[in-house]
Subunit: 394 residues, 2 copies
């Protein structure tokens, strides 16, 4: 409840580092102007970042008569960050420099029916070792590893995973990972939070105070940004927008609730719309969500009536669920991310906007925008690594 001076210092460091990443090379007074800090405070933070090894002086700028000013940039030769995106079918690992540029990647498949924690942890560790070897980084130079896992991550580092073939409840994942990676700090969170941090630092949410980042995939959820920071709620479960109700007594959800948003706009929900529209549709691959969603996108673009109906139905449900967020949270921007949004986002967006305009109140509707994730690389591994950077800056 009490805001502390540490909170402010952290927020200011984040702001300076974000500006540095986005606009380098910059001089101290640019940083002050862009962040709203005094030149003295900005200079203090620049010095701190320099000491932490995250910032480098890369040259000088002449200043009409006065002393030349140092040009500052993220220290490309500085510490390394690792981001891991775990999904049902793969482990994706990236190594980053302090500008969050990718230095190396590794990807391991996960077999859908062998998802024991030991097996998954082994694949994660192999992916990390592989990526570290490719990037030729000494392990002592790694600031930390951010791991995103699709599920509920508790403050004690245990995870319950909600992927349909996984059966994880309270798996001590952080302990298992730390056992295998004793030499690097590991943090654990879920893709909703990782994607939201990526939007906040690099995407459509940069510079915004109040944001909702909606992940659309097999599962569906939101990352909420309140006053410029990720909002976690009382027990770190805030953002379960995917499990708010859309249809009373509606479809059953794998998480035990009824008629929730996820059962109508998640990939299995969209497949159900398709099966209800045309049970014999050639677009339907009952055992392959991604193939079905991509086939829908292609068929929609080609004018296929069943695909258009499914897209319209999905967009209507999504529009109502987004209007609820707009009315309750009054965000400046809503960003759609995740693989279903990548595939169907542009097709579904006109339907979403038309429906949300009808269900949202005029004032918050006029104060918001709805956009697709503009980040052209994996936002989850990027966000997971950025969580490590945020932790280090705190």
């Amino acid at each position: 409840m009490k805001r502390t001076y540490q909170d402010i210092r952290r927020t200011n460091r984040f702001a300076v580092m974000r500006h540095l990443i986005a606009s380098a090379p910059v001089v101290r007074r640019d940083i002050a102007a862009a962040t709203g800090l005094s030149v003295a405070t900005a200079s203090d933070i620049v010095n701190e970042l320099h000491e932490l090894g995250l910032l480098a002086e890369i040259g000088q700028q002449a200043s009409g008569g006065g002393r030349p000013r140092n040009l500052l940039a993220p220290a490309l030769e500085g510490p390394r960050l690792i981001g891991v995106d775990i999904a049902e079918t793969y482990v994706h690992v990236e190594v980053f420099d302090p500008a969050l540029r990718v230095l190396a990647r590794a990807e391991y498949e996960l077999h859908p029916h062998t998802n024991s924690p030991d097996y998954v942890v082994d694949r994660i560790v192999r992916g990390i070792d592989d990526a570290i070897a490719q990037a030729q980084v000494e392990r002592g130079r790694i600031l930390g590893v951010g791991v995103s896992i699709p599920g509920q991550v508790r403050p004690d580092g245990t995870a319950s995973v909600f992927a349909s073939n996984w059966n994880w409840n309270d798996v001590p994942l952080l302990a298992l990972l730390t056992d295998r990676l004793p030499d690097v700090p590991v943090i654990l969170d879920n893709p909703l939070r990782a994607s939201t941090i990526a939007e906040l630092w690099f995407g459509a949410a940069r510079g915004r105070d109040n944001v909702a980042v909606l992940t659309l995939g097999t599962g569906v959820g939101a990352g909420l940004v309140i006053q410029g920071a990720l909002y976690r709620g009382a027990t770190n479960t805030a953002g379960e927008w995917g499990h708010t109700n859309l249809v009373i007594d509606g479809r059953n959800c794998r998480r035990g609730c009824v008629g929730c948003v996820e059962t109508y706009v998640g990939a299995p929900g969209i497949m159900q719309h398709l099966a209800e529209t045309d049970p014999d549709s050639p677009l339907l691959h009952p055992d392959d969500q991604m193939a079905t969603i991509n086939a829908l996108a292609t068929a929609h673009a080609a004018g296929d009536p069943a695909a258009q109906q499914v897209i319209a139905t999905t967009g209507r449900y999504l529009g109502i669920a987004i209007a609820n967020l707009i009315n309750l949270c009054n965000p400046q921007i809503i960003v759609l991310t995740g693989w279903v949004a990548d595939s169907l986002g542009s097709a579904v967006l006109p339907h979403v906007r038309a429906t949300a305009a009808r269900y949202a109140l005029a004032e918050p509707w006029e104060g918001t925008e709805i956009s697709l994730c503009p980040i052209d690389r994996n936002p989850v591994s990027l966000g997971a690594a950025t969580l490590v950077l945020e932790g280090f800056l705190s």
Copy 2:
């Protein structure tokens, strides 16, 4: 986005003043212990509050050998605060001391069909003059007037009011009031916010970081507390939970949306459940919401089957809408306030809890509680006056 040192100072002042009001007489070290501040910081704030005239030294406490400690309390002879609760049928004015004890009250009826802004402003000003005269306060001693009006209040002080018989759109209410009250500062907000501030200072939300205060009356809405402070959103409309959707293509709402929470759990919505259950019910007073709701409460207590069915239906809708809040916002506590909650709250609560337990996810459900407003006086005028105090402390 940037948190400032002023934010912290304000938050700390609020914490000290709240503790002082709740627990006086206290000594400096009690304040430090209760607020988590250092004794030095707590002492600085005590001195500031003393200079502002809000705090008095009312005696001394012996301290085993050392220097006696000053006993501190809100300055009962200090400045005065005024809170105004405007509803469809009345203007209620209260004068408070810095402990937020009521010194005087005045109430004027509003005729439901003469709600021109000039008429309403005239009643407000008369109520204020009347209450000031009763309390025998010189006008120079009044810190300010907080006015709560049921509707949307914009940052420029214009108001749109959503009471069913009013037809206010962008009425420059703040300017009209300031014209008539040139000698006292006036602030304007709505009852959702006033009730929330009252819960935060004096009610069930004291000491909580993440709270939703739900006002149930003719209209329905939420006040959201995030990290201990009122959350207003991007354009000051956050909290329109009453207009989130419950039934797709459901009942029409006076605000233009469709099937929203308010149309199922607001007083007119409850009356519609009753009319649908038993069109000839003797409980139904078509032109008197309060008489109908109170008749329902009495009949429910007496075991009347129609009343019990209406309460169960209302509780089920309310439970789903509350589960949505729990899943999305993960609050520590949800407080029900407003005249419908006063009348039907204890009857409806078991149904709310049973339904919310089914529709909420297990983790956030276990981390929250649902309770009725424990404040035994008008929370709206109290909260409106507290908004003045908060403004002064900022």
